[in-house]
């Protein structure tokens, strides 16, 4: 994608993001993002409120057209589709893992994980590490088609390592770039690349 499209894409994935958020999300150059965002606001493609940006409805439609053009070849690439399906399988495991992280089934009843048992949390974070190893190999392959994916992979690793070091908010806290937050954004990005609809 051209730089301008990458910037619009970043704000489409993460709505109400700041310039810093977009830079962190896509691994772009800050000065360039700032300049392009200003240009996009002037051109009616982004709205800005208090330093936070969102893509205008017309620019959303434009973006869909750009995805279709930029990723036309990729969308018909059987190898890429197979890798994407593998991602969906890991995604199912990730969602189960996140649910196990947040809730416990005790004698058939679901209760919130209040994180009072470090052993339990440690086991889940360890599972997350194994899942990450699988995901990383896959994301490396996907990144050969779209280098942006490699940046998600690094952000996932950062979140994982913070969780491994004991700051458990980095597993699923929705207000920071936790493992789940980044994964969720990666999933959205891949859906835009493939042109597929979210299943749930």
């Amino acid at each position: 994608m051209r730089e301008m499209h990458s910037v619009l894409h970043a704000f489409a994935i993460k709505k109400f993001a700041s310039i810093d958020d977009a830079v962190a999300l896509m691994g772009l150059d800050e000065a360039q993002v700032r300049a392009l965002a200003a240009e996009a606001v002037a051109g009616g493609r982004l709205n800005e409120v208090d330093g936070r940006y969102m893509v205008t409805p017309t620019a959303q439609i434009t973006l869909q057209g750009i995805y279709a053009k930029v990723y036309a070849q990729l969308r018909s690439d059987a190898g890429f589709r197979e890798d994407y399906e593998a991602f969906e399988r890991i995604n199912d495991d990730l969602k189960q893992l996140m649910t196990d992280w947040q809730t416990l089934t005790i004698a058939g009843e679901t209760v919130a994980n209040d994180h009072s048992d470090p052993d339990y949390d440690e086991r889940i974070i360890s599972r997350l590490g194994s899942l990450h190893d699988r995901a990383e190999r896959l994301l490396d392959r996907l990144a050969r088609h779209e280098p942006r994916i490699g940046h998600y992979s690094r952000q996932l690793l950062t979140a994982l390592e913070k969780a491994e070091d004991g700051d458990i908010r980095w597993v699923s806290d929705a207000t920071i770039s936790s493992y789940h937050t980044v994964w969720f954004e990666l999933h959205e990005d891949l859906l835009r690349v493939t042109g597929l609809a979210r299943r749930e």
Binding site: A12, I13, K14, K15, F16, M54, A86, R89, D92, K95, Q96, M98, T99, Q102, T103, L104, I106, A107, G108, E109, T110, V111, A112, D114, H115, S116, D117, D119, Y120, E122, I125, S126, G129, S130, D133, R134, R137, L138, L160, E161, E164, D165, S172, D173, A174, T175, S178, H180, T181, F184, E185, H187, E188, R198, E200
Partner: protein, 586 residues
């Protein structure tokens, strides 16, 4: 069946007898140590041995398997054969083992468990005949190959379809991994042991040790344990036992049992387990043996135990025992009961209950009368709590109207990342599609928001503009604003006991609003900055007393203790008192 002891330069056979000394945890790792610990309490476990951490360190020094380890592994398997009456790598009566990593300190990046090693195409018919279940034998083989691919070969396992041929599974993995899976189970065992040793040096394990200052000289052990099967005949089964009821804390064992089943059958939910009474019906002797075992484990660990067990042809084996997870009500009752029984002292009892558990017990809920109303929509309640507001159908509208001070309920078909800002602004979130693992559910729980998912097409987006009450635990959406009720901490006998204990020990006084003196109290609810925990310390400087939601949170209590406040005002008082006592003790 106690034969000769197993000892070697690199191996330790686990066959502690009652009262005997336990092996060195640093040498055999945490998992083997737990097995030995159970054995030393006189409890039955599947036979096992450990490859020691010294073997791992020798491997790290030379990069090759330590001299003599391979022949010791051979001897170890012979030892397991003698104890089980089975044969490793044979077509008849095959011996299968689980291989686990086990450092003295658990850390990320270590090899995951490899199950069913020893199974092969050649002995599938024997396993099928033994269990009377050919599909089970095939599935066991498939799971073994998948795990072998992932944990030993370190590759993604391609999706192995159930209806493919056995050879096709193996061929696809080998193609994918670009290496062969040895046909000889003994060579597979060598590869699994090497994979455990290599995992000691995985990127994540190395980083973790560095970050936590853990010595590189510890190494990891490998536990090799006989697999037992609960699905062989009508005198077999599998289950879990809690030494006390994990839901309400009642001091009676509670458990589930499934005859003719392997653990996966219970976990996958394919079959609904029976109560422990079914084990009693099968064998009163085993039932009594199990209950006695749970009691010994609880007594020894001074914690409620969650015991996994399998019965194979009428013999009981304990697979694992650990501290049981419990619902908040159970945590409170068990702590109080165990102190009264003399099993633990008051300090330990206080440490077994978290402020979050008490907050959850005392959180507002619908009154019984309100909850009997007819819901306008129902779904899967995935994040508990009650939220009331006007239904809006987009995250942007939720954010906008919430900013204007309205209580809103966000109702969408599904949620995507750009809805998160709207979820944060809402009092509750409801969706039409998705289950308990959906993104909406994960985000809702992470935000502590009542959340109901999977209400069905059109069920909630059609409610736009209406005022509703969402019960995120029960999964119900009611019309209008319903009556809610806050439980009183003084009305519950166990909470009252806890309240007495922490009241006497707390370094911080916590007063109810109606007890607060008429003097200068800083009201944090009136300060926007109080929402940021990092700014609490600054706000409390020079202050004598404070009130408001922020002061009753764990961060608030930490700040109040640091600022040496004379008292705080909060209701309920138990969560802040408990937090204050635990912080000053820990």
């Amino acid at each position: 069946m106690v034969g000769a002891a197993l000892t070697g330069r690199w191996l330790v056979g686990l066959d502690a007898v009652s009262g005997s000394a336990l092996p060195d945890r640093r040498l055999v790792g945490g998992k083997a140590w737990s097995i030995a610990h159970m054995q030393s309490l006189g409890l039955p476990t599947p036979p096992a041995f450990a490859v020691t951490t010294e073997a791992c360190l020798e491997y790290q020094r030379n990069g090759t398997m330590p001299d003599g380890l391979e022949s010791e592994l051979q001897a170890g398997m012979r030892w397991l054969e003698r104890r089980s009456g089975r044969r490793f790598g044979h077509d008849e009566n095959p011996l299968l083992v689980a291989v686990r990593s086990g450092a003295a300190i658990s850390m990320p990046g270590m090899m995951d468990t490899l199950l069913n090693l020893g199974i092969s195409q050649a002995n599938l018919p024997a396993l099928a005949a033994e269990s009377g279940d050919a599909a089970f034998a095939r599935d066991t083989y498939r799971r073994f190959l998948q795990l072998y691919a992932e944990v030993v070969l370190g590759t993604d396992c391609p999706d192995l379809k159930r209806d493919e041929g056995l050879g096709a599974w193996r061929a696809r993995i080998e193609r994918h991994a670009r290496q062969a899976i040895p046909g000889d189970p003994m060579l597979q065992l060598h590869a699994a042991v090497r994979a455990v040793f290599d995992s000691w040096n995985s990127r994540r394990a190395r980083r973790y040790r560095k970050h936590h200052g853990i010595s590189e000289d510890l190494g990891t052990a490998v536990t090799v344990q006989l697999m037992v099967f609960g699905n062989l005949d009508d005198q077999s089964g599998t289950g879990v036992l809690f030494s006390r009821n994990p839901l309400d804390g009642a001091p009676a064992p509670y458990g589930e049992y499934l005859r003719r089943a392997q653990g996966e059958d219970v976990v996958s939910g394919k079959r609904t387990p029976e109560s422990l009474d079914d084990l009693h019906a099968q064998s009163p002797r085993l039932h009594a043996q199990l209950l006695a075992a749970a009691g010994r484990l609880e007594e020894s660990n001074r914690e409620v135990q969650d015991v996994e067990f399998t019965v194979e042809r009428g013999t009981l084996y304990l697979l694992q025992s650990r501290t049981a997870k419990r619902a908040p009500a159970a945590a409170v009752r068990i702590a109080v009961d165990m102190q009264r029984e003399g099993a633990i002292d008051i300090g330990e009892a206080i440490s077994k209950v978290t402020p979050a558990q008490v907050r959850s017990l005392l959180s507002p809920r619908l009154t019984a009368r309100a909850a009997s109303a007819t819901p306008v929509a129902t779904g899967n309640g995935v994040s508990p709590g009650v939220g009331t507001g006007v239904v809006v159908n987009s995250a942007d509208e939720a954010e906008r109207r919430a900013k204007q001070g309205e209580d809103v309920i966000l109702a969408t078909a599904t949620t995507c990342p750009d809805d998160v800002h709207g979820m944060i602004a809402a009092r509750a979130v409801v969706t039409e599609f998705g289950g308990s693992t959906s993104h909406a559910a994960v985000v809702g729980r992470s935000l502590g928001l009542p959340c109901v998912v999977g209400c069905g097409a059109g069920a909630v987006t059609s409610l736009g503009g209406e005022t509703v009450t969402v019960d995120g635990g029960a999964g119900r959406i009611y019309p209008g604003i319903l009556e809610i009720d806050c439980p009183d901490e003084r009305e519950d006998e166990c909470l009252r006991q806890l309240l007495n204990w922490v009241g006497e020990r707390s370094p911080l006084r916590v007063l109810r609003p109606d007890e607060a003196p008429d003097e200068d109290i800083l009201d944090l609810d009136a300060l926007d900055a109080a929402a940021d925990p990092d700014r609490l310390a600054g706000l409390l400087q020079g202050v004598e007393a404070a009130s408001g939601r922020a002061i009753a949170s764990d961060e608030g209590i930490a700040a109040a203790l640091a600022a040496n406040l004379r008292f705080i005002v909060a209701e309920p008082t138990l969560p802040p008192l408990l937090a204050a006592v635990q912080m000053s003790d820990g």
